[in-house]
Symmetry: C2
Subunit: 486 residues, 2 copies
């Protein structure tokens, strides 16, 4: 309560209300992915933190920087085990790189600076500061100077030279990009290197954001399907990792390997996730004498599609209509695995993905991304319906803050990805099992849900309707929701 | 996936789908409170468990029995740290009395029996069984015989005799009931003892459920407000605890004690929360020669109220109209602290409260309670709007399962309890702080939200309208939502 009251005494904090903690933590993640500076969440006690943990898990996997302030029982009150008392510290550790429980008011300022430093440590970390009520309300707190985070460790020159030798002397080399290795600048360097050496370049499947569209590489991701991923990767004898992990399956499957790359492949770490890839890629290009070269033109921009929605035609329509520097928040799950192929020739844009696998990040990430871009960029949230029900409260914050978010709900009324996973594990679903994947009884009305939270909305059954609604929403400043029946 | 697929191979499981895990865990809690037998939840990996942890926290505080089955990465896949890999075990421990990660298929049956035993251990426990995917899909699993839980430990005869002596020889004795000490039978015995000895009887503030209405004691709870609680309890020199804890504040406050009872009071534990109070109370009544006696008539049933809603008039209206053996799921938070006084003369009913303080349990508990009563009892969910937004997805399950739940949303468009807490901690909220407690910009339309999930709904601004809508909903079999503007 004192933290909230202090918001009127200390200027400089912009406050955004979310109606459930997973909205708040997801917004902070989206904010970081666009603004590249940490937001601060305020969560209430252990159970409030628990409500926000799934999107903190996603943010940790996305390597976003977030400072969580978690209020907790007064130190003198904790031994009495009042109802809200919980093991907040243990909860926080499961989703944070840095956790501290403040124990003295006169050290609270320093603790806060340490939390900010941890959150800003490259490329970003989850820092959770637990503040017992009395530590917050006592008067002794001292403001601390900011503490600069350590710079990311540089890549050793020998490592870069080895990578150069591999690229010079081998045909089947894959450069695998992830994390900050997917920025426009990193892609330009990767293209330069690939062009000079003939190496292949792919993006990892698990990526929080990627610069895409005209002027960026026509990258594909390692496929989600284990079988396809193994097939895609089997030819590579050397994999150079740029902020990526060596690819493994999203899940383990009976009789399938966990690793998706060839058993004979050599794995070379050019840069770890906590290293800056730009200097290493620049150095590598220099050693290879790779000339600066433009990324090839992706051809003409697609036209909007017509008729009944398909994944391919929806992607073309989005590519045809998205404003320049749009942000795509993609939680399309099973429907969107092929979107990339049809959107290379769109204007430059950033595409955000679910990086931790915990469904329900698409809408809050879209909300936070719009704030992170200062409401200056249109966010298009391509959103599966089952996942949307995890964090639909995001729409209210979009209405309250008048955010430029266009949500396209992909209404198929089922947990379609799980039907695919049944096949992957060789389980045969019967009537009961199938009913557990059916969210169409009763049908959800996304138009009514959005209206109930103050967001205008309309239903579309054809891509012409969807395109009209998209174009209208892009002209306005606030949010809009399109319920697309697929 | 194999667990879900097996639902069609093994008969006897009734499956209920919730659209977010906190709905599922809250439903299991409500189910237990009415059916007094554990439900089983199926949650997906660590982050799925995390989504359901707040209501598991509440269920643990309510001492409900629940078996959580949490799917997790295949054992061979865990070392590869795929995106959904999390410290599921640490998460589970924060909200469970019993946790196990199965490591062998041939022991999975026994592990499941152990989990059921733990959940059934009196008066109920949270048991979490983490099942890696390969342990689930391997064929070697053996069905295990049920393992009976240990019976609750009996109260020592000397303890009962001490309590009898205190009751005989002192004037200022309080019998404090909580947990299973609030059943109809326990109340009859407590009344018998109070009548014979002049002792006072109160219910604890923190209680999961209480038998109320005609034929039950006209119990009040220890007040929520620390000041009022201290004033209520200061006269008692002896407190006999029947499944209750010695009262402490919900939070610690500056300059206030944590304990709400007098420093001179002697605290006597007749029965702990994990002991059966009936035998001890019977024995105590016997030693005291306390005659069996009817609980006094609470007077005439109130009439429905009219005009603008107030807490008092809403309580009278609910008391006037509720069907016999109704279940009240009360997450009215600040609005409902005085409901008891006006509902003593209602027909017999059960009243369920938020026992762990993590808001968002009212709607899922109502949903689970309706299932626990086999749809044979009307559930009235008196629900604050801010908390309702935590778990509104419950409405969809109510529609799908055609549950007899009447939800009364108390729409005041703010987090009113927090305005009270500002005063308690001596913080003065300014404009920013107040805007963080305002959920009326934009206004939520609960009628639209309910309709969007297939639940019929209507708005009421007077108690006549509210009464009409209640009576209509009681005549039908399915759910209904009343948005009451307060």
């Amino acid at each position: 309560m004192h933290f909230v009251a202090a918001l009127d005494q200390v200027p400089g904090m912009k406050c955004i209300l979310g109606l459930q903690e997973n909205i708040v933590t997801g917004m902070a993640d989206g904010y970081y992915r666009i603004a590249r500076k940490p937001a601060c969440t305020l969560l209430h006690c252990g159970p409030g933190l628990a409500n926000g943990m799934a999107n903190l898990h996603n943010a940790r996997r996305a390597r976003s920087g977030i400072i969580n302030i978690v209020g907790d029982q007064a130190t003198f009150h904790r031994p009495f085990d009042a109802p809200l008392t919980a093991d907040t510290d243990s909860m926080a550790r499961t989703v944070s790189q840095w956790v501290q429980t403040s124990t003295r008011s006169d050290e609270l300022g320093r603790d806060a600076s340490m939390a900010v430093r941890a959150a800003k440590t490259y490329p970003g970390q989850i820092a959770t500061l637990i503040v017992p009520a009395d530590i917050s309300w006592e008067e002794a707190a001292v403001v601390s100077e900011p503490i600069a985070p350590a710079p990311p460790p540089a890549t050793d020159f020998n490592v870069i030279e080895v990578a150069a030798n591999i690229l010079r002397n081998n045909n089947n080399v894959l450069i695998l990009l992830a994390g900050t290795g997917l920025s426009t600048q990193a892609q330009l360097l990767a293209w330069q290197i690939a062009n000079a050496t003939g190496a292949a370049v792919l993006a990892d499947y698990v990526i929080p954001s990627i610069a895409r569209g005209r002027g960026r590489m026509q990258l594909e991701r390692v496929p989600y399907s284990n079988t396809s991923a193994i097939k895609t990767l089997e030819r590579y004898e050397h994999i150079i990792l740029v902020n990526a992990k060596a690819p493994v399956g999203f899940f383990g499957y009976p009789g399938m390997p966990s690793r998706q790359y060839s058993a004979r492949a050599q794995v070379h770490v050019l840069t770890r996730a906590d290293q800056d890839p730009i200097l290493a890629l620049q150095e590598l290009a220099k050693i290879l004498d790779a000339p600066a070269i433009d990324i090839p033109d992706p051809g003409p921009r697609p036209l909007p599609s017509k008729g009944s929605p398909t994944a391919e035609k929806l992607a073309q329509t989005v590519a045809a209509l998205m404003p320049e520097h749009a942000i795509i928040s993609d939680e399309s799950i099973s429907y969107g695995r092929d979107f990339y192929r049809f959107t290379h020739a769109a204007p430059p844009h950033d595409w955000l993905h679910l990086a931790g696998g915990a469904i329900g990040d698409g809408m809050p990430v879209a909300t936070g991304a719009a704030i992170g871009a200062g409401k200056q960029r249109r966010v298009i949230n391509i959103q599966a319906d089952g996942s949307a029900m995890y964090s639909l409260q995001s729409l209210w914050t979009q209405a309250r803050e008048k955010l430029p978010v266009t949500t396209i709900i992909l209404n198929n009324s089922k947990y379609n990805i799980l039907i695919g996973e049944y096949e992957n594990v060789g389980a045969a679903p019967g009537a009961t099992a199938m009913s557990m994947l059916d969210i169409g009884n009763p049908n959800l009305s996304w138009v009514k849900l959005a209206n109930g939270m103050g967001v205008e909305a309309a239903k579309a059954t054809t891509l012409e309707q969807c395109a009209d609604l998209m174009q209208n929403s892009f002209k306005n400043t606030g949010p809009f929701l399109i319920e697309l029946m697929i």
